[in-house]
Every structure is written in structure tokens, then in C-alpha cells.
């Protein structure tokens, strides 16, 4: 369960406050994969970051007793001057994994991401596709109640896309996904329910198709 209690989040701009959440009270049920829909700039990524604990509402509360992964986005979460291997080790260590587990995770990520020699080169020379391969492989190595995905599925070549989707489908048997995506096909195949973010309001739909219909309406009007 994820609870939002009178949560308000805004950004200050020259033309006054721009609201992303306006006094939202909402409870999201457990054991469902939720897709987040909304237009560009509506605040989908911010919502995801707030759930991941690295962004905070201006007032009100967002809380949950579940564990969340870091938001996996295109921006990555990697230190550019360190190699892929070092970054994987770093993440293992901040999640306090033992040295044995660490070795396993490193091997797993190396194999999954298919980076080859690039795995031992600095992240800053990676292409964005390579970065997201690494970040996706890394996220699969940990167990969270919720995996937060910010449009990472839409990168990479065809073969890797297929592979990562299969791995993700396997993963969501044991954990849930909260994902932001503009690809309706991905949303339909992965998510069960959806939320639509629009003008400071969040509406929860039990069926992802209803959410997509609502999102289409917003786009038209």
C-alpha cells in the first residue's frame, strides 16, 4: 500500500506556483503493477522520485511500508569517472551486500548487460543505450517490493529490448512495478492498473485500459 496524505507539490515559476500535486489524498492498493500516465511536464517523474524517497512534497505526506528501488531513468545513477564494474560494486555496497553476494551480482550484471570489455571502462564513454543496459541489469539483481521505472524500456536494440522485457516479466512475479511510459503497448502488457496525473490531480484506475482512455481524452482536449 502506498498512502498519500494531503500531499502538495509545486514548483515556483515566474508565473506563480505550478502544481503537480494539489492536496491529494489517495491510497494505492498492493499487488498491482501501476502505470503512470500524463502529458510531458505533468509531474510523472517527480511523483516517481517522491515515491523513491529522493524528492519531497512541499506539504503533506507520502509513505509506505514497502521498499522501493531507485527510480531507473535515462539519466542513470552512475558516477561518470568510475567503470561499470566499480559502479555496480558501489551500489551493492550502499545496499550493504556481503562480498560474496557482491561477486555474484557483478557477474550477473556483466552477463546480462552484454557490455563485454566496456564493463571495465568509465561510464562517461558509454552511450545512453549502454548506460540503460547496465542500470537495468543492476536493478534486476536486487529485490524490492516496487521497481520504479522511468521510461527505460524504450531504449536499446531489438534483441536487448526483448530480453529485458522477458526478465522484467519474470521479476514482476515476485515484485511490483510502478512505471512511467509513453508506450501504450508496454503499459498494457506489464501494468494492471494505472494512474493519470493531470493539473495537480491524481486519479487511480483499477484497469489500465480505463487510464489509457482517460489519458487519450486529456490529449485531445
Amino acid at each position: 500500500m502506498i498512502f498519500l496524505e494531503n500531499a502538495t507539490k509545486y514548483y515556483k515559476t515566474k508565473n506563480g506556483k505550478k502544481y503537480i500535486l494539489k492536496n491529494v489524498t489517495l491510497t494505492l492498493p498492493e499487488h498491482t503493477n501501476i502505470g503512470i500516465l500524463g502529458r510531458n511536464g505533468a509531474g510523472k517523474s517527480t511523483l516517481l522520485r517522491m515515491l523513491g524517497g529522493i524528492d519531497f512534497p512541499n506539504s503533506g505526506k507520502i509513505y509506505s511500508d514497502k521498499s522501493f528501488s531507485w527510480p531507473m531513468g535515462l539519466a542513470g545513477g552512475f558516477q561518470g569517472s568510475m567503470t561499470g564494474r566499480q559502479n555496480v560494486k558501489f551500489v551493492c555496497r550502499i545496499f550493504s551486500r556481503s562480498e560474496d553476494e557482491l561477486k555474484k551480482i557483478v557477474e550477473f550484471v556483466k552477463e546480462f548487460s552484454e557490455l563485454g570489455d566496456y564493463f571495465d571502462m568509465p561510464i562517461k564513454i558509454y552511450s545512453s543505450g549502454m548506460k540503460s543496459r547496465l542500470s537495468f541489469g543492476l536493478s534486476l539483481a536486487f529485490d524490492f517490493d516496487y521497481i520504479l521505472i522511468d521510461e527505460t524500456l524504450s531504449v536499446g536494440d531489438k534483441k536487448f529490448k526483448k530480453k529485458s522485457k522477458e526478465a522484467l516479466m519474470k521479476k514482476i512475479e515476485t515484485s511490483n512495478v510502478l512505471m512511467v511510459s509513453h508506450s501504450m503497448n508496454d503499459l498494457k502488457s506489464i501494468c494492471d492498473s494505472g494512474i493519470v496525473v493531470n493539473n495537480g490531480e491524481i486519479v487511480y484506475y483499477e484497469n489500465i485500459n480505463d487510464a489509457i482512455d482517460r489519458y487519450d481524452e486529456i490529449n485531445k482536449g
Binding site: 522520485r49 523513491g52 524517497g53 529522493i54 524528492d55 519531497f56 531507485w70 527510480p71 531513468g73 539519466a75 542513470g76 545513477g77 552512475f78 558516477q79 561518470g80 551500489v91 550502499i94 545496499f95
Partner: protein, 219 residues
């Protein structure tokens, strides 16, 4: 390293009087290691937040951690450099005799902490006001000459002594030099003044940091 050689040669050519019991290259080594450590801690702290922004996506990583890690790196680096320089000095036959090793260690540790407190204060300010960092770097330019790195306060004319001790770095340098060399003393070191310069920026910095930690993570 190059600096030490250059300044030693200049001193030799200028033919100024030697202070007895003071090996000038060693004097310079102490100054430059301590000063560079101090300067690097301040400068690296200022860049710490923006350089490690990508790592804030993990909620375990707080901006403060980046300051700590850079602080540790700089101290370790300086220790290695200093050991290396001492070894070279010993190899070329300098007389290395330390008067009060605990006093010297205190000086090094204290100037590192002083750098850290200035660092955290400047780091928060320069994160929100980009130009602030540039101003700090500008202020540091003349510091190289005004910090008693290659001369002692004793060797200056009396009116200059009174002015230059207002520079906190001079106090630290005098402390390190005075404790290392038997024939130099720490007469011009004002401990209260050093405490003031260490604590005030530290608490100001911590307070500023505490109130803006979330903003730094969010950006």
C-alpha cells in the same frame, strides 16, 4: 615538488641568511603539503554536490557523504605525498629532525578540519549561487603569497607582521613550522583566533546545509 626545487634555488641564489637549524626545502615541503591539502579540500568540497548529483538517485547517498569522502581522499593523498617528500629529503641527505611531532600532526589535522568547515560553508553557497565559487577561487589567488608559505612571520618587517597574522592560514603555517623546527617558535600563533575561524564557518555551514539538504537532493 617543482615548487620546492624552484623556491630552494631562488633562496640559494638570493643568498639570504639561513636560519640556523632550518632546512629550507623541508620548510617548503611542510608549507606546500599543508597548503595544498587545505586548498584542495575547500575547492573539492565546492564541486562535490554538482559532481555527484547522479548518485543522489540512491536515497542512501546524502550530499554530506560526498563532502566526507572528498575530505578523506585529500587527507590520504597529502599523507602519501608528504611521506614521499620526506623520503626524498632523507635520500638527498637533509637533516630531518622533528621538534614536536604531535604538534605538527595537530597542525596538519587542524588545517584539514579548517578546510572542511570552510568547504561545507562554501559548498552550500556555491551550489545555489554559482558565482560565489568563482569569487572564492579569486580570493585564493593571492593567498599563495600571503600565507607565510616560503617565509616565516619573524622574517617580515614589524608592521607587516601585525597585518599578516589576520590571515588564519598564516597561523596554521606558523604552528606547523614552529612545532617542526627546534629553532622556530609558535609566538605568532593565536589559538583562539584559529578556533574562531574553524568553528564559525563549520556551524554556519552545517546550519545552511541542514536547511537545504532536501533542496540539494531534489535538484
Amino acid at each position: 615538488m617543482a615548487m620546492i626545487v624552484v623556491f630552494s634555488v631562488i633562496k640559494e641564489l638570493a643568498g639570504t641568511t639561513h636560519t640556523p637549524g632550518v632546512e629550507y626545502p623541508l620548510f617548503l615541503a611542510l608549507s606546500f603539503v599543508a597548503y595544498n591539502m587545505f586548498k584542495n579540500i575547500v575547492f573539492k568540497s565546492m564541486d562535490a554536490f554538482s559532481a555527484n548529483k547522479a548518485l543522489f538517485v540512491y536515497k542512501q547517498v546524502l550530499p554530506f557523504d560526498t563532502l566526507i569522502s572528498r575530505f578523506i581522499i585529500e587527507i590520504s593523498l597529502s599523507s602519501i605525498v608528504f611521506t614521499l617528500l620526506l623520503f626524498i629529503g632523507w635520500y638527498i641527505g637533509l637533516e630531518i629532525r622533528c621538534d614536536n611531532i604531535l604538534g605538527v600532526l595537530l597542525g596538519f589535522l587542524w588545517i584539514a578540519i579548517f578546510g572542511f568547515s570552510l568547504g561545507i560553508f562554501f559548498a552550500v553557497l556555491s551550489f545555489f549561487y554559482e558565482n560565489f565559487g568563482k569569487v572564492v577561487k579569486l580570493i585564493f589567488l593571492p593567498m599563495f603569497f600571503l600565507s607565510a608559505l616560503f617565509y616565516s612571520v619573524e622574517s617580515l618587517p614589524p608592521f607587516a607582521r601585525e597585518i599578516i597574522v589576520y590571515n588564519p592560514v598564516v597561523n596554521f603555517m606558523e604552528l606547523i613550522h614552529g612545532e617542526f623546527f627546534l629553532t622556530l617558535d609558535t609566538f605568532y600563533v593565536d589559538y583562539m583566533y584559529m578556533v574562531f575561524w574553524t568553528l564559525v564557518p563549520l556551524f554556519l555551514g552545517l546550519w545552511l546545509y541542514k536547511s537545504s539538504q532536501r533542496k540539494i537532493i531534489m535538484s
